[in-house]
């Protein structure tokens, strides 16, 4: 012990004359720039996906309905409510938010005499910190809690595919599929939007668990055509995928295809535990073997109905076979789905035209109910001068001829009018045929809609260009020039806008800005119409039509003629997934109708 040790502690006295270090008013102290304080939510960009609720380990977040926010495609209509009796301000909800709408302010003091006040809906219940800029936001850059980039789908190169109708999308490998499936946050926004309400997060989970048989069972719960939908579905699910808000949406369609591709058709019955339903003695006739008819037949067959499909053409599938080119949807994959449905006891009569070969009345008397999914097979014409020329074709007719194996007229210079997927289908089909016939491609597709609002899928446009077709959108056709009974080309004028302010079709043109597409053959692909000649006048009288001439059905697709159910493209769509959803719902309706009747 030294004397210094006794004296040195007294140096502490020097602090007596120094300023105290204590903060006198901690409440007015501002939190740091990144402070994890109270929650804010941009209610407009929030889609109520519930990912914040999922990640919260304290179960502090509940998704609740909010007045004034409606459920719609891509928005659950719910918003997160946060309970500060549970929250630990880890901000994982912010980091995982799919739309970056959720953030934390740097406010950290809040006094209230009502304990319930601390359970609130950020962004809806107005708070003092709502407009505070500072606070925790998702870290940037390269900080993601899940993959935001899509796993690239392997495809054949343009030069390997532009001469043949071979399928060019080759499909995911196991590793690729699992990597893509991993990106899903299981929000279910897709399920709500899908017309068939498929269990999308569930089958994606089955891929992650490498349980593809379970995946197939989930698919067949709502969709008996997974091989087909896995290739050509219009994937409304992907359009609303919550991951798409700050990255690429999940390739839901390709994942569905992966499950269907990986399960061999001979094991379907065993996996789906099918084929052991007793016939209930009731008979249903189905007109048309398109997606809605097949779907209705499948679900009716599962419940024991004896179904017979009447098909006008020599093979089943409707527009799926006769409207979609083989390079997008190979025939053997159509057969795989259809053969499984037929293996459950569904009968099919080919080359039978209802209305001429068999009357609808005959079906009415022979069967307990009739479902009609006859689709849109009539091409619509632009009706511009010259459109009645023999070298002007409808896209649907040409596509059907190609599928039937017939040789169609292919000229050296072709113009396609239309900007939808059917237009792209015929453009790319003709490009392939031209390439084979002339060794070069000269086909131009032109549409009213400018490129940013073209109804065709973006990848269709890109791939068409890769295959050397010209896509020149934003023009309205005015006339077809004909010289010596031969088509010289198509006159067009600039289209300024397609829809008016209220969203109705009312195109406006700039008559001075014109263009001439040289061509010796023109294909019109501006939509299709229905042909319901087979419905006899008495029945037609019972059916209700809306002012625009469309058939009115109830939620089970039952028409005014109670025994007749109509679904598919005629009612909704046009696309495959609506047809499947209609068929399923109609099957339920038919079951209800027959059982009540009996």
């Amino acid at each position: 012990m030294k004397l210094k040790d006794i004296l040195s502690p007294f140096t502490a006295w020097k602090h007596v004359v120094k300023e105290p270090v204590t903060i006198k008013d901690p409440q007015s102290r501002e939190g740091a720039e990144r402070y994890r304080g109270f929650h804010k939510n941009d209610i407009e960009s929030c889609i109520g996906c519930g990912t914040c609720e999922d990640i919260c380990q304290n179960e502090a977040i509940d998704l609740v309905p909010v007045d004034g926010i409606e459920t719609k495609d891509g928005d659950s209509g719910l918003r997160p409510m946060i309970d500060y009796g549970r929250c630990c301000w880890c901000a994982l909800c912010v980091d995982v938010c799919t739309t970056n709408s959720l953030s934390l302010s740097n406010h950290f003091t809040w006094v209230d005499e009502d304990p319930d006040a601390f359970r609130f809906i950020p962004g809806v219940d107005k708070k003092a910190w709502d407009n505070e800029e500072k606070g925790w936001k998702k870290p940037e850059p390269n900080y993601e809690l899940y993959g935001t980039e899509r796993v690239h789908m392997p495809e054949l190169h343009a030069e390997d595919r532009d001469k043949s109708f071979i399928e060019f999308v080759t499909g995911y490998s196991k590793q690729q599929a699992e990597e893509e499936a991993d990106r899903c946050v299981e929000c279910g926004i897709c399920t709500a939007t899908c017309p068939a309400h498929m269990g999308i997060p569930e089958y994606i989970k089955a891929i992650r668990n490498d349980d593809l048989e379970e995946g197939l069972r989930i698919l067949y719960e709502t969709n008996p055509l997974p091989e087909i939908c896995g290739r050509i579905c219009t994937h409304k699910c992907e359009d609303v995928c919550s991951i798409g808000h700050k990255g690429d949406p999940l390739s839901i369609r390709w994942l569905k295809r992966y499950i269907a591709d990986q399960n061999p058709s001979e094991k379907y019955k065993e996996i789906l535990n099918a084929g052991n339903v007793e016939n209930n003695g009731k008979k249903v006739a189905i007109i048309g073997s398109g997606p809605s008819g097949l779907s209705a037949a499948y679900y009716l067959a599962l419940t024991g109905y004896d179904c017979t499909i009447y098909e006008k053409l020599p093979e089943a599938g409707g527009m799926m076979r006769y409207g979609i080119p083989e390079y997008r949807l190979p025939y053997d994959q159509i057969d795989k789905d259809i053969n499984y449905i037929l293996s459950l006891g569904v009968k099919i009569e080919y080359n039978v035209n209802i209305g001429t070969d068999i009357t609808l009345d005959k079906l009415k008397s022979d069967y307990d109910a009739v479902f009609a999914g006859t689709g849109l097979h009539l091409g619509r014409s632009t009706r511009i001068p010259g459109s009645d020329h023999k070298d002007v074709f409808f896209a649907t007719d040409l596509l059907r001829e190609i599928s039937l194996g017939k040789e169609i007229q292919v000229s050296e210079k072709i113009v396609v009018i239309g900007g939808g997927n059917v237009a792209m289908d015929i453009t790319r089909s003709l490009a392939r045929l031209q390439n084979n016939k002339f060794g070069k491609v000269d086909v131009t597709a032109t549409s009213l809609e400018s490129e940013d609002i073209m109804p065709a899928d973006r990848e269709e446009v890109v791939e068409s260009r890769e295959e050397k077709a010209i896509i020149d959108p934003g023009w309205g056709p005015t006339s077809i020039e004909i010289e010596n009974d031969k088509i010289k080309g198509l006159h067009v004028q600039k289209c300024l806008s397609v829809f008016d302010e209220s969203g109705r079709f009312s195109p406006k043109f700039d008559e001075k800005d014109t263009k001439f597409f040289e061509a010796d053959m023109i294909v019109e692909s501006i939509g299709q119409g229905m042909d319901i000649e087979y419905i006899n006048p008495e029945t037609r009288d019972q059916i209700e039509f809306d002012p625009r001439g469309r058939i009115v059905v109830d939620e089970y697709f039952q028409t005014g003629a109670k025994w007749l159910f109509i679904g598919g493209d005629i009612i909704q769509g046009p696309d495959v997934i609506h047809g499947i959803a209609n068929g399923h719902k109609a099957a339920i309706g038919i079951d209800k109708f027959i059982n009540q009747d009996g």
């Binding site: 380990q57 870290p139 899940y146 991993d182 946050v185």
Partner: protein
């Protein structure tokens, strides 16, 4: 100088009398012995824990430790949480040093999943671990001097710790629970001007450490009460699993940062701080030097770390991250010794087992029960703080 002011306690080893086996018969009915509870609510205990002391006069004859007063079942809780949901939990295992939990948890996961985190994230993790060490020692130093009756060091140290917490708040968004070291990386780069503000903080701490030297370490009262008391025999080190400053003060250079360099410690220039007398004073001194070493290391990190870089590696979707089947042990040197996470994954989205190895378990139970015998009651608090134990870490 011969000590005339303070009379050294006489040799009391003759009390109490031992029986023929050399053991003491504690018979409470003799009224010679008294049961005395220190804790669970007691300022002389670090946290909620109880020491059931049997005393003879003012001397401790026997001690049993009782824990369980703040058991929150972290380990079991984590078995029912997805991995990412454990991330906000782990920091709560040890309030004064959340970052070591975060690091061990994240690195165990990364090891099992085979993920290499970006260089920048490694530097930032090293930085927060050193910052955490700094603030934890500042908290300890107040407790150590407080246990021996000096309140002023605690006042200063809390102020200094607050300055470090301010820096934590800037960097991580939180003062106490930082939740910064996410599996796969970290949650943010250094904010603008952070290095300058940190340097200012370090200089303030250094200045106050000079005062603390004078008032605490060069203080007759402190020396009187700490020198020669609470001796840890170097032979016990491996037997009791003693790590950190408790081992280093006994001359055993155990430092995970040196022995098994993790993160960027291999790139930093330092030596493990070692003492030799192994008493309360030496342990305090080792910690003081370790605190100053942390300041030096933070400066080295700032000088060596890159300006830019990725903060997070690509990981599977955290909402259903299946960590590959396997088991691992991940460790780090915290202020109290070796902190470790033993993690077992069965390949599902949930951890099968997570065992937290907090150094307090060995220090505050087995070691304390042995060391405390023959200690004066008044020294029990000081002895316990000198082991730098923390009960929540015992009850995971």
């Amino acid at each position: 100088m011969k000590n005339k002011l303070f009379k050294i306690t006489e040799d009391r080893s003759q009390f109490p009398e031992k029986n023929a086996d050399g053991k003491i018969d504690i018979d409470l009915s003799s009224h010679k012995y008294l049961k005395l509870w220190q804790g669970p609510q007691h300022p002389g205990i670090t946290g909620n824990m109880a020491l059931e002391l049997t005393v003879l006069g003012d001397e401790v004859m026997h001690c049993e430790t009782h824990v369980g007063y703040l058991h929150r079942g972290f380990e079991k809780l984590m078995e029912r949480r997805k991995y990412i949901q454990c991330f906000p939990i782990v920091c709560r295992v040890a309030v004064p040093e959340p970052d070591f939990n975060e690091y061990c948890f994240a690195s165990a996961m990364e090891e099992l999943a085979g993920i290499e985190i970006p260089e920048m994230a490694k530097w930032l993790r090293t930085l927060v671990l050193e910052m955490s060490r700094l603030q934890s020692y500042l908290m300890w130093i107040g407790g150590q001097s407080g246990a021996f009756g000096s309140g002023i060091i605690g006042q200063w140290a809390n102020y200094l710790r607050d300055l470090v917490l301010d820096r934590f708040e800037e960097l991580t968004g939180g003062r106490i629970y930082h939740m910064y070291q996410l599996p796969g990386g970290v949650r943010g780069l250094l904010p603008d001007g952070f290095k300058e503000r940190m340097e200012e903080t370090l200089q303030t701490i250094e200045k106050f450490m000079g005062d603390i030297d004078k008032v605490m370490f060069n203080n007759a009262v402190f020396k009187k009460r700490s020198v020669g008391i609470g001796y840890i025999d170097p032979a016990w080190i491996n037997k009791f699993g003693i790590t950190g400053p408790n081992a280093r003060a006994a001359g055993v250079a155990k430092d995970v940062r040196k022995d098994y360099p993790y993160l960027k410690y291999a790139d930093l220039d330092f030596d493990a701080i070692v003492g030799k007398d192994s008493d309360i004073y030496t342990r305090a001194d080792v910690r003081r030097k370790d605190l100053l070493l942390s300041i030096d290391l933070i400066r080295q990190i700032f000088a060596k770390m890159p300006e830019k870089g990725d903060i997070k590696a690509k990981t599977p979707n955290v909402l259903h991250w299946k960590v590959p089947k396997g088991e691992t042990y991940s460790r780090a040197e915290c202020t109290r010794g070796e902190y470790g996470y033993y993690m077992v994954s069965d390949g599902t989205e949930y951890p099968r087992r997570i065992n937290v190895r907090g150094p307090s378990y060995t220090h505050a139970i087995a070691l304390l029960e042995k060391m405390i015998i023959n200690t004066n009651i008044a020294d029990v608090a000081g002895l316990m703080v000198s082991l730098h134990t923390y009960p929540p870490e015992i009850e995971r």
